[in-house]
Symmetry: C2
Subunit: 219 residues, 2 copies
DNA sequence: TATACTTTTTAGATATGGCTAAAAAAAACA
DNA sequence: TGTTTTTTTTAGCCATATCTAAAAAGTATA
């Protein structure tokens, strides 16, 4: 139905638009897609003609309902395949993103519904991200970067940035995974790093960069 | 490494060449690929430049060792995915070919070796076709079309033509599957149809077309 | 508000993979 | 062995998805 490129652009625009809320700049899309801004202009015109985005020249794009539907279907496939790769094929969570980037474009609704069933209808992917259902609905947990949590508070890791394999390897090494509880012992103002305790057992210091990529819930 | 189109052409050429033995005509490739002969000429020139086929104008093509390697890797992936779809996702054997045509192009050697292991190293796909190992080797069983078997002889179904879904549905209806034993009671000269008995139980008449698409062994 | 800077679009390429119609070569046949 | 038919290639298109360089529009600033 839609080309691999169109699907990737819609997914990028959806992500950048904060779940479809905000309008998105050409340069931001270009950076996300690792293409030249000129290429983005061309593709936007094409997506606009197909009513997948709303577009006025020089004004950025807003993803349409139709465009959002497509993006969410691709995201659903990506995350289901990631679950398959980790749960069934014993891949590690830092190895699955690139393969899922390919698998997410396989066209077959029945394949996805059977895969969903085979995986026992998972609600989250290996990185803690929610898996939309066939209608694009998914549970939203209020999550924020660990870097935003105040000193002395506790929280729980609910999601991580899956596209950075080095980050995931680092999390393994220090013993952080989805579900780990974290207590913030101290915030170091100087460089934004934090001294934290994991599962009331092990203490360590993590950098601001790492803290910004760890999504936690305080609920 | 190689494009989806290049992989599909190599697979087609490999199939038409009788496992790499014979040279293949432009028109035959065009028919197999459902493209215009002119498009085949273009692609052949490209494959030839990459040393994936040997080619002299107007003389047809021969697949090279390198080309055969690629074709066999694609075939391996196609058949492993078909096993996955049938064994794990409960697809029926007449539903998997189109999906496998997409999945066979996913690029990740480790994915395939993990899938192979997950499926417990199958040697044949759901249609009886052998699955090449990572080096392209596979067991060859001497098989011939049922239409070639003489009256009064017995044989066993070892493979079927998986790309014809209607044929597979027909086989289900009459009760023929991989492993079914067949006795040829009578060959009708007039139209090439045959009266046969399945597993020494059920007798029926099948057309010449059907008999040509059923591959059996007499060993 | 005029000028400078940034962002975005357009113009004009390239590469891939497809097409039809016409030309050329090979094969069949009379 | 000519002549006709078939097969294959070439010529000249089109569409998609990229790119760089230049132009245009929008934004910021003095
Ligand atoms: Mn991912
Ligand atoms: Mn993920
Ligand atoms: Mn198949
Ligand atoms: Mn098969």
């Amino acid at each position: 139905m839609y080309s691999l490129s169109e699907e990737n652009y819609l997914k990028a625009i959806y992500h950048l638009s904060n779940h479809g809320q905000d309008s998105v700049n050409t340069n931001a899309i270009a950076e996300e897609m690792k293409t030249a801004p000129a290429s983005v202009s061309d593709m936007i015109r094409k997506l606009s003609k197909k009513k997948l985005v709303d577009y006025q020249k020089y004004r950025g794009v807003n993803i349409s309902t139709k465009g959002k539907d497509i993006a969410l279907k691709v995201i659903r496939k990506h995350r289901l395949w990631e679950v398959f790769l980790v749960e069934k094929l014993n891949f590690h969570w830092d190895e699955v993103h690139e393969i899922a980037e390919q698998l997410e474009h396989i066209q077959s609704p029945v394949l996805i519904s059977k895969l969903d069933e085979f995986l026992d209808f998972p609600k989250h992917d290996p990185h803690g991200d929610p898996i939309p259902d066939d209608d694009g609905n998914f549970a939203t947990v209020k999550k924020e970067p660990l870097s935003e949590i105040e000193e002395g508070k506790s929280c729980k890791v609910v999601a991580v940035n899956d596209s950075n394999s080095a980050f995931l390897k680092y999390l393994d090494k220090v013993g952080i995974s989805i579900g780990t509880s974290i207590h913030i012992n101290e915030r170091i103002e100087f460089d934004g790093s934090m001294e934290i305790t994991l599962n009331k057992e092990k203490s360590l210091t993590i950098s601001q960069i790492a803290a910004q990529n760890l999504l936690v819930t305080t609920a």
